[in-house]
Structures are given as C-alpha cells and as structure tokens.
C-alpha cells in the first residue's frame, strides 16, 4: 500500500532528527512506544520508581496491545506526573512549537507562560501538521511531560478507506461476539467500497440497486477536492480513462485510491437547503479510551437549493466550506454556517425535546463506535492527543450518518464568529491537555468539553438521579449553552503567577 502516504509527498525532505534527549541508551526508540509508559524518564529524581525494561525491541509498528498490558496503574502515573509538574514549575514556562499559522497560533501565543521555540529548539508542546508528524515522530524522543497533537497512525480513522475498513471489521467482530442487534448499532455509515481494490463487489452492489446515486471521493484528499457524483457505471468507466487529464495526473490516478459511497438521497433540509454538521471530539487516550465532546460546532449549509435532478452541480451537494467558497454566487459576507445552538433550537422547536435527545444519543453513538473501531489499531501514546472534526449528515428521518473524520480540522476561521468558536475550542483543548497541571484528572467537564467516554459511558452527576429517578443521562451537551468561562473559573486554578480575579 504505497498509496497511503501520497498526500504527504509535498512535505519537506527529512531533516536530521532533533536531539532532544540527554540519554544514551535509548537511541531511536520510536517515540510512540516507550515514553508513553511514562517510564523512560531521564530525570534522575524519577528513578526510585520501578523502571520497566527500556530495551524493548525496536520496531516501527509496535503492536499497541503489548504496552497496554505493561501500563502501570494510573495512580503511579499521576504521581510521576506530579513530580514532573514540580520540576517544570522550576522552568516556569512551557515551550511550544506550532506548525500552523491560524487560530491555534493565536491561542498558543496568548496563553500565559507559554513561549514559542524556533524551528529546531526543544519543545514541551507541539501543534504540528500531519506531514511533520510523519517525518519526525519516529525519530524524536519525547520526555514524559511532552505533548503532541496527533497520534502516530491517526490516519486509521481519518482516511476514508481505512475508516471504512476499520468500521467494517469492528462491525464483524461485534456481530460475532455480541450479536446482530449490537452490530446494527454500527450502521451509521453509508455503504462504501474502496476502489480499485473492491471494484468487483462494488459493481455487484451497484447493480443490485439500480437508479441510486453514488459519490466518489479520493481517499487522501480533503476539502471536497476530486469529488463527483454518478448514477451510471459508464460514468466511472469514462472517468477512469478520461483523456482530458494530463499525463501527470494520470500517473497519480493510477495510484490514487477512491471510495465509492452510496449517496444519501434524502438529506434533512432546512428551508430547502442541505447541510452537514461539524462536531469536535477530543481524544486524550485510546487505552483506556477517553474522549471529550465539544458543545459548540456548526452546520454548514449548501448555498444552493437541494434537488437530486441536478447531480452534476456539485455545489448543491457538497457542504464543505472549501467547495462552497468557489461557488459562483458565494458571498463571504453571507456565511454559510449555523452554530450548533440555533440548530438545536430549530430542531427542538420542530420535533420536540425528546426527538432531539434521541438524535444526540445517536450522534454520540457514532463518535464512540468509530473510536472503538480503531482503539486497538491506533498506537496509544501518552504524549499524544487528537482533536477530530467529525462530519455528520442528517437524513429526513433524523438519522445521523458519519461522512468522515478529519484529523486536522480546518482551524482557519471564516468569520469572526467562527474564529471565536475555534479559539474557545482550542483554548479548552489546551486546558484538557493540561500542560500547566491545573486539573485533577477527574473532571467530567472542562470548559466547553464534556467527558463522553472514559473506558465506558459517562453520565451526568446532577439531574434526575438527585430527584430519586434511576435513569442515567449521558454527559454530553452538543448544541447546549456553552457557559464555559464561568465553568472554567470555578474549575481551574489560576495560571502560575496569575491572580484569580
């Protein structure tokens, strides 16, 4: 599968790996393996704690299963963590590296006590792009307290073909182990095939449902590039040998994988317009799985009115802001986004509180199942966290469908409101990553994030059980009021050296 890394070909040539370690015996240990145990610490003060064998075989793809069994108890980790904190407080600042030039840079810039480091300097926190990660991750050694914004093989979930592969496998396992009912809970992604490898089963399925519409997406491109709709097999045959493409593109097409996905023909429309949802989920650990759901998010509207009769007009169908921006009548002043709150308000007004509650439960289910489907595949690493941007589509029956997951959700803001949302989101992400050591680790809510899964479902503390009812309410509040500042004020200790107001 050389195909997989195609998108990254634009990144720089490998540089000498940064010499961030002081040790001698741990040369070229893949950072995703050892340091995540929290035990390869170079600090002399840490040695009284039992050190596991640090000469683990060095492999590129270390099976994650093994080190989960090596995982020390969380209390040991916490103690270690605290010791590190004390040490870091001595340094009194957090050195960060930022590979992106948008909202995240502002957030990092304005965070009290954080300083940016130059290209090759040592860092404690790295918000890198996936290209950097691929080039450098395996060569860098990371200290215990260091954090980085991607998991090593994040693409298992975020690449369209791999996501489907993982979900299908997970569904099969569930069916085998827990029965059909349980497996049916995974039926939230449209029927999808990877081309060219699954071309034959795709054709079979295609012929079984004549007249249906399908969508083709290149697996490794984002922002709606290279996507088209079709209804006849002839269309993709033509496309395969399309003479109009240049030689260069043809070469690319030979290795480029596509997915063919059953198109959702009955999307939920608001005032005749199609939209999809962008929701943010933060994963701080895969083993055990710990995932947070952000309250804010947005609905992206298509600028044109929806009708299936115009399948050539991709502006109708694709709600990506990136695509919409190139539409001939796109007006940047207009905005095509709704925040989650008005959407929730709209849906509640139309369908009632209970329906919306059920819908958000089903959406939670999508997040959790999709994360569980890659839990054993993703290389768990204590240094890593990941902010996913989920794209969800609703159909007329208010059933949510998973369209795709993005590992680097666009953090470039399209408007002030959008900027504010992303700023809040990233600030809260940093609160949870907690470089400053201001949390206890037992929080169920930090700012706009609600803890959704912590090795099992998380329920709210307050509410009905206080009134004697035994029913459990999921601890997620998508599209609810985000009174994060008040909550943060109560929750967080002030930044070091800052007075609480």
């Amino acid at each position: 599968m050389q195909v997989v890394f195609l998108t990254f070909s634009l990144t720089r040539a490998p540089k000498p790996q940064p010499q961030t370690w002081t040790g001698q015996h741990e040369k070229f240990i893949p950072a995703g393996i050892l340091p995540c145990l929290g035990l390869s610490c170079q600090d002399k003060d840490c040695t009284p704690y039992p050190r596991y064998n640090t000469t683990v075989p060095l492999r590129d793809n270390y099976p994650p299963r093994q080190h989960s069994s090596l995982n020390p108890t969380s209390s040991v980790l916490r103690t270690l963590d605290r010791r590190h904190r004390t040490r870091r407080e001595g340094r009194n600042c957090i050195r960060y590296r930022c590979g992106l030039t948008n909202t995240i840079q502002d957030v990092l810039n304005q965070r009290p006590g954080w300083v940016e480091v130059k290209e090759d300097g040592d860092w404690d926190f790295n918000w890198c792009d996936v290209g950097w990660l691929r080039e450098n991750f395996d060569h860098s050694y990371m200290e215990e307290h260091v954090r980085i914004c991607h998991f090593r093989n994040h693409y298992e979930l975020t690449r369209k073909n791999l996501m489907v592969k993982n979900l299908k496998r997970y569904r099969k396992t569930l069916e085998r182990e827990a029965g059909r009912m349980e497996a049916a809970k995974c039926d939230f992604f449209p029927c999808t095939f990877v081309l060219p490898s699954e071309y034959h089963i795709f054709v079979e399925e295609f012929k079984r449902s004549p007249g249906s519409t399908w969508i083709m997406k290149p697996v490794a491109r984002s922002q709606g590039k290279g996507i088209f709709l079709f209804r006849k097999l002839k269309d993709i045959i033509d496309w395969k040998k399309d003479g109009s493409r240049s030689e260069e593109q043809k070469d690319e097409a030979q290795v480029e994988s596509y997915v063919a996905q059953r198109y959702i023909e009955n999307p939920y429309l608001i005032a005749g317009r199609k939209f999809d949802l962008r929701v943010y989920v933060l994963v701080t650990s895969y083993i055990p799985l710990k995932a947070w759901l952000y309250r804010d998010g947005f609905a992206r509207f298509s600028n044109t009115r929806f009708s299936l009769s115009s399948i050539d007009d991709q502006y109708v169908h694709l709600t990506n802001v990136a695509v919409q921006k190139t539409a001939p009548d796109y007006d940047p002043e207009k905005g095509c986004k709704w925040q989650m709150q008005p959407l929730r308000c709209y849906l509640t007004a139309k369908h009632g509180f209970e329906t919306v509650q059920t819908l958000s439960k089903e959406i939670d289910n999508i997040f959790i199942r999709s994360l569980l489907s890659v839990q054993k595949t993703i290389i768990n690493d204590k240094h890593c966290f990941e902010l996913y941007g989920y794209d969800i589509l609703l159909d007329q029956d208010l059933k949510p469908w998973l369209i795709e997951v993005n590992a680097s959700p666009s953090l470039t803001a399209s408007s002030q409101e959008d900027y504010d949302l992303k700023y809040r989101l990233l600030e809260d992400t940093l609160h949870i990553v907690d470089m400053e050591g201001r949390l206890t680790g037992k929080e169920k809510r930090v700012g706009g994030f609600d803890l959704m899964w912590n090795d099992g479902p998380v329920y709210t503390d307050v509410g009905l059980e206080a009134l004697g009812s035994s029913c459990l309410v999921a601890n997620t509040h998508l599209g609810c009021v985000n009174d994060r500042q008040k909550q943060l004020q109560q929750l967080l200790k002030p930044f070091p050296g800052q007075k609480k107001t």
């Binding site: 005032a271 709150q341 008005p342 139309k350 409101e417 206080a466 009021v481 009174d483």
Partner: protein, 552 residues
C-alpha cells in the same frame, strides 16, 4: 363615562357582530344541527344538551379562543359620541404627525417610482409568471440588480420624527420640568413607573420560576423546568388560548413554543388558511409590485446577512410578498393610527380614475421589516402556517412599532418608558451619555423598533417574545433595552463619544440570560426593592466585566 356593564355589552355586541358569518360560525351551526340527530338530545332540555355536546366535542373551546382573539384586537370602547377616528388616535397632534409622516413616505416612494421609471404595479407576462412559479421555493438564488433601490426609510429617519413631536398645549418650554428635557422624547404620556410595573408583571418577580432562571428562585431549576414542561403539555392538550397566554409569561419550552404561540394567537392551519395563502401566492405570481423590490432589497440587506436567519431567505420572500397582497391586513387600520396609502389607477379607457390602497395590505416595508418574520422561521416550516402566525403578530403588535400614536404599547410610549427608566434608575449614566452627545435612545431605538430581532440571539429573542405574547404588550421591550444599558453601565460610564458608546453596545448576541433562558426578571434588586438595578436580566456575568450584583 360608560359604566362597566354598558361597556361590556358594547364589547359583546361588537364581538358577536364580528364573529357572525365567519367560518367558525357556520361550522358551529353545522355541528349544532348534527347534534339534533343524536339520541341523547331531549326536546325539553334542547339548549343545554346541545351546549353540552358542543362542549364535549371541543367546539366550545374553539369559540372561546375566537372570542379571546377578538378581545385582543378590540379597540378600547370610547365615548359613544366620539368619532371613530378617535379609536385610531385620540390626540390631534399625534394624528397630524402621523399624517405628515405618511405623506413623506409616499413622496419618497413616488419619487423612486418616477426616477426609476418603474410602475407601482404591473401584470407579469405569462412566461415571467411561469418562471416565478418554478422558482417560488428558491427566490433567494436570484440576484437581480437592486442597486438603484433604497429602503423608503430606516428606523433612524423615524426616530427624528418622534424626536420632533411636540404637544401644542405645552408649547412654552419653561413650563416643562427639568427632567422632561433630559431625553429625546419631548411629549408627556402616561407610562408605568416601577411600582405599577410590579403590579403589571407579577410573574416576573423573584418568587416565580422563570424558565431557566434559577439563581434567585427557591425551587431547584430541574424541578421547576420539568414541572413547567409538564404543565405546558397540558395547556397544549387543552387547546386553551387564555391558559397558553398565561403560561407564556414564564417562558415557553422550545419544543412546545410553536404550538403555544399559535394557540395564543388562535391561528389555525385549516384548509381555508392554506387556500387563502395559495390565493395570495397566485396574486404575487400574477402581478409585480414596486414594493416587491423593496422587500427583496430588505431581505438581502438584513436577514440574508444574519448569522441565524440567512437560511430562511426563501421563506422570507414568500411570506413578505404574500403579506403585501393580503387585503385582510387592512382591517387593523381600524385601531392603528396609520392610514393605508392610496394610489390612483387608471382604467383601461383612461377616462376613469379610482383610488386603491397601495400596496394592497396598506403597509410599506422599511429597512429591517423582514426581521419581524425571521425569528418565526425557527418555529414554523410550512409557509402557510408561518404566514398566518406572522400576520397575526403584525396586526397585534408589530404595527405599533412604526406608527406614531399615544397608545401605551405604541412606539412613542416605549421610547418614553425606556428613557424614564434610565433617568430614574441610572441618572448618572443618563446624564453622562447625554453630555457626551450619546443620547441612549439613539442607540436603543433600533432595538425597540425591531423588538430586538436581529440583535439578540434567537433563543433569547424567542424567550423575549414569549413575554410579549404572554402580557399582550410590547412594554417589556423597553424594559429590556434599559436593562441592557444597566448591565453595561460601567463600561458606558467610561466612554466619551456616541461612537464608542455604540461600540460598547454593538454586540448583544452574547447576552445570555442564565442557562440559555431569558432572565427578564424584575426582581427585588429592581422592581422589588429600592436598588438601582431594576431588571435582572440574568446575563452570564463573565460576558461582561461589569456585572452588577445588587446585593453585594
């Protein structure tokens, strides 16, 4: 003066008169006749039996709701010898001001007509009719050149007219008290003071639960909320307008609001209503009006640029275009100080001229008019339903926001109410703003004219409008406007120009009234004590650096 019973009998006669011949009337008759075939009807107790059956089948409730609706739009009975114009507006100088204002609007409209060479109305050629029919659901995708059109007037122009209002009986300025010089509104009208407001708005007191306002009540919020939702469902199932209105005073739950509002307004979505809407649509398709361009332009300028409402662009065209053709709206001019404008049409021969109301509904849209409809799109997605709710809201409330009148809920009273509240409770702030040339009303006027639509976030706005419907009054709009000043008072005390004061108050969308619900409480710190902060809009304190806690 009439005594109460005489007054009542006058009202009853009027209502009976109005309900006679309505669709409801004929339906009731039909139902009563059908009853006669039932075995349980006895001849000797005929009247009671029929009544009982009508009650059991829900028809009595429908009649009650219809009567209740008539009571809302029934003008207060005047002196029997007073001419009918007096119910429109009793004060001569107000009438005159309104007439002059209308002349100005018409002049502006006429000059636009001549300038652009566009007729007030024209029949569309058949191909154009077909095109419009096809595009009916996506009118927003059309991008006609509207650069030549400008709104007939904006709230700012209207404010100038209100500022210029003078009572000729008070001509000598030295007779005025010092206080009446403070504000922009120079006429004296009777507006409620705080104790009177406490009487008027008992449910907004501290001891009452407000949907989501939990800080000051003694009931745990979840308990209040679930109880409130439970009651709401009951109100809906009872189909009782009066109960729904009372209920709305404490806020409607989002999931029930659409039903509750249409119950309060007694709007239905019967086949007749749908037919009526379809007729209006046909009229739009057959004829093009000059005001269509104004509507189009207004939607483009306001709602289409709004973060919440841009989605509903198509609905807004549909509703507003139909509204402009709806002659049943004319009825509200019986109690509106405004008079529908007239224009002359020439018959085909050219010999005869006859005056017709223009536009057919008598309402000339101004800049921001579409914002009266926009929030309702969050509640109703069938255009016919959306339409009838909007029309009812307009003929009950919104017309008051752009007609010069002395009525308590009229725009002049609201402005005065706003100024008085600020003057008496934040005199320093008022003085400061006045001194730097930032009269508070100059900033607040646009909020009031639009009943805050487009300024508050939708969820908050709907909670505000809950109270408008619940109390059948727009007064709460003025109170909220004053509350906004109170909540940003500290920042406002520091500004030194109108522009910077406007900047402080530019963005109201972050105003949060406690956990997403409006906190239009008038609590002890306000109406209920001597404290200066008379409205506790329980805004999230962190949105401002200036949250006042009256008790601290």
């Amino acid at each position: 003066m009439l005594d109460e019973s005489a007054e009542l009998s006058v009202s009853i006669t009027q209502i009976v008169q109005r309900l006679k011949g309505t669709h409801l009337h004929s339906q009731l008759e039909k139902q009563a006749k059908e009853c006669l075939h039932k075995p349980e009807i006895k001849l000797e107790t005929l009247k009671d039996d029929v009544r009982r059956l009508l009650k059991a089948s829900g028809w009595e409730r429908k009649l009650q709701n219809a009567v209740y609706r008539e009571l809302h739009i029934l003008p207060p009975p005047g002196h029997p010898r007073a001419p009918p114009e007096h119910t429109k507006e009793p004060l001569a100088y107000m009438c005159k001001a309104q007439v002059n204002w209308e002349k100005r609007i018409l002049k502006s409209l006429n000059s636009m007509c001549t300038e652009l060479g566009i007729p007030l109305a024209r029949k569309r050629p058949v191909p154009e009719q077909k095109e419009l029919t096809n595009k009916w659901n996506e009118m927003g995708t059309d991008e006609p050149d509207l650069s030549k059109f400008r709104p007939v007037y904006a709230p700012k122009d209207f404010l100038e007219v209100l500022v210029g209002l003078r009572n000729p009986n008070n001509e000598r300025s030295e007779d005025l008290t010092v206080r009446s010089h403070w504000g922009l509104i120079q006429v004296s009208l009777n507006v409620r003071n705080i104790p009177q407001m406490r009487e008027m708005y008992p449910e907004l007191g501290l001891t009452f639960g407000q949907l989501g306002i939990d800080d000051h009540t003694h009931v745990p919020p979840d308990l209040f909320e679930s109880e409130h939702i439970h009651i709401g469902k009951k109100v809906v199932s009872e189909q009782d307008s009066a109960a729904a209105q009372q209920y709305s005073r404490q806020g409607c739950p989002t999931g029930l609001r659409a039903q509750l509002w249409s119950l309060i307004l007694n709007t239905t979505n019967d086949p007749e209503d749908i037919t009526h809407y379809e007729q209006l649509k046909a009229r739009v398709i057959h004829h093009a009006l000059l005001v269509d361009n104004l509507i189009y332009k207004d939607v483009k300028l306001t709602a289409s640029n709004d973060d919440y409402y841009f989605v509903f662009e198509d609905y807004l065209y549909q509703v507003l275009l139909c509204f402009s053709r709806d002659t049943s709206v004319l009825e509200h001019f019986n109690y509106n100080s405004a008079t529908p404008p007239k224009s002359c049409i020439q018959s085909k021969s050219g010999s005869e001229q006859s005056a017709v109301v223009y536009p057919p509904n008598g309402v000339i849209p101004f800049h921001g008019f579409s914002m009266y409809v926009a929030p309702l799109c969050f509640l109703y997605n069938e255009p016919s339903k959306l339409y009838s709710v909007f029309r009812e809201m307009y003929i009950r409330y919104f017309f008051r926001l752009h007609s010069i009148s002395s009525l308590p809920s009229g725009i002049v009273s609201l402005c005065l109410q706003f100024e008085r509240l600020l003057q008496s409770h934040l005199p320093q702030l008022f003085y400061h703003l006045r001194e730097i040339g930032a009269q508070p009303l100059r900033i607040a006027f646009k909020w009031i004219v639009r009943a805050f639509s487009g300024y508050l976030s939708t969820d908050q706005l709907l909670l505000l409008w809950d109270r408008i419907l619940g109390y059948d009054s727009l007064e709460i709009v003025a109170v909220l406007a004053a509350a906004v000043f109170a909540f940003r008072a500290e920042n406002l005390m520091e500004v030194t120009s109108l522009a910077s004061a406007e900047a402080v108050l530019a963005d109201l969308s972050t105003l949060k009234m406690k956990e997403s619900h409006i906190g239009l409480e008038l609590p002890e710190g306000a109406l209920y004590s001597k404290d200066p902060y008379f409205v506790q809009a329980a805004f999230s304190p962190m949105n401002f650096s200036i949250m006042h806690d009256p008790r601290s």
